[in-house]
Symmetry: C2
Amino acid sequence: MNQLTTPNEKSLQFNPSPNQNHLLAALPAQDFARLLPMLELVAMPLGQMLYEPGQHMLHAYFPTTCIVSLHYVTASGDSAETAGVGNEGVVGVALFMGGETTSSSAVVQTAGNAYRLDGRILKQEFNRAGFMQDLLLRYTQALMTQMSQAATCNRHHSVEQRLCRWLLLTLDRCDSNELVITQELVASMLGVRREGITEAAGNLQKAGFINSRRGHMSVSNRAGLEKSTCECYGVVKKEIGRLLADVRHRQESVSASQRQLLQ
Amino acid sequence: MNQLTTPNEKSLQFNPSPNQNHLLAALPAQDFARLLPMLELVAMPLGQMLYEPGQHMLHAYFPTTCIVSLHYVTASGDSAETAGVGNEGVVGVALFMGGETTSSSAVVQTAGNAYRLDGRILKQEFNRAGFMQDLLLRYTQALMTQMSQAATCNRHHSVEQRLCRWLLLTLDRCDSNELVITQELVASMLGVRREGITEAAGNLQKAGFINSRRGHMSVSNRAGLEKSTCECYGVVKKEIGRLLADVRHRQESVSASQRQLLQ
DNA sequence: CTTTTAATGTGCGCCAACGTACAGACGATA
DNA sequence: TATCGTCTGTACGTTGGCGCACATTAAAAG
């Protein structure tokens, strides 16, 4: 299977560009140029909380090399991830959906960079009702797919299956196949005990699919993981691909028609 | 606590009107008048499937007295509800979000009526970028809240807690406090065994909170249910209220300004 | 190189929910 | 009122994952 996201070129890692984010990269030149001066490159350290439940959010974040986890924490401290956001998306859809807050929180799960945009500007851009609006709406639907799939997956699939799903979706958002993350953190994403991850990861390692070191997990046999995961991985991946591939098509046709106009 | 939805007047039950749906009712007179001739009253019998996964949907449905369940069914036949839609919302948000299909299905969970609208017309209306767009986006965010809450709730809360949550949310979408539904069907909504519902319902009945007959469940002590449910009920209810109450405000201010203009 | 701190591995009793099987009981239809 | 299909109640062994306790080890810090 192909990766969920087009792999960034290595050079970009050291030469950050908003184009590393697929939504920004998909914008027609005109829209992109208008937005560019407003985009602020920010470092996203592991564990940073981008917004808390009910808190008015001020910025949207377009991840380039970081990954952000959207999750809910119960009154008793249990938590569960409802969706992840990498370079295929944007954190802060509530800014243009109209709610301005959500009941869940957003935390940096893999350190890296993102481009930050003032929430009011994002809303303005959305209200132009152009390509960007289309893009953001489609992305939001992809987010909904992840959420509803999480509901089913949490209900019916084993810890090991869910770990595979999570690893695959996370890898698809990365360049490397090495994740810098503790089992403790993975456990809180999946909403299970840390010991459950130790055990599941142990099994996957015995099977030769992954390599697990203190604070690191790397995949050595992707096909193996794909066989061990539940259908949820495929459903989410396919749906993200469908919703955003379509958008890329349109960009091509838009720029094609622009080229025609300029001839 | 108040109900999630404004109770419909009994008389409306026998005199169906699009205004029984809160989204339609919130529209400014002009928008409503434009839409009215396109709205088709349809009966929604129990169990009817409105759309299947991946299937191109043709219509949106604005429930008045029916309730629709959005859920996902796994390859092995397990299912779980990701959100419910009653007279507070609309079925078919993918029509304006741009995807046109979803990976989940929509099934009538409580028989009743709905107003059906051609998908292209809904999209057109959405693209006017007026009040309706605002409304639909806010509603969509409420839907996302339900989905992400379902993910957490399925992960961490007991069958009995989830049954209470489901009963309360369903009742909030009804006039009566009597539901016509089998335990089997409730079980498939919550994604548990039928016997699990029998047991949980038995406990709630012993506690004097509900009354369970063959094919019927009715609530006799709402406060009791509210004490037995998990926080998820409150979170979802509050979020729906916040997102849609705000919209009603604006409608009032819009019609106020219209009145001024007409003076 | 030591110390300290945080991450990982392992074991064990426990319990909610599962799968399965079957008995009753309601209510529609003949 | 008898029949039949469906819904509901009960029972029981099984199990995945939990909570807890503690040992071990890797990395960072002194």
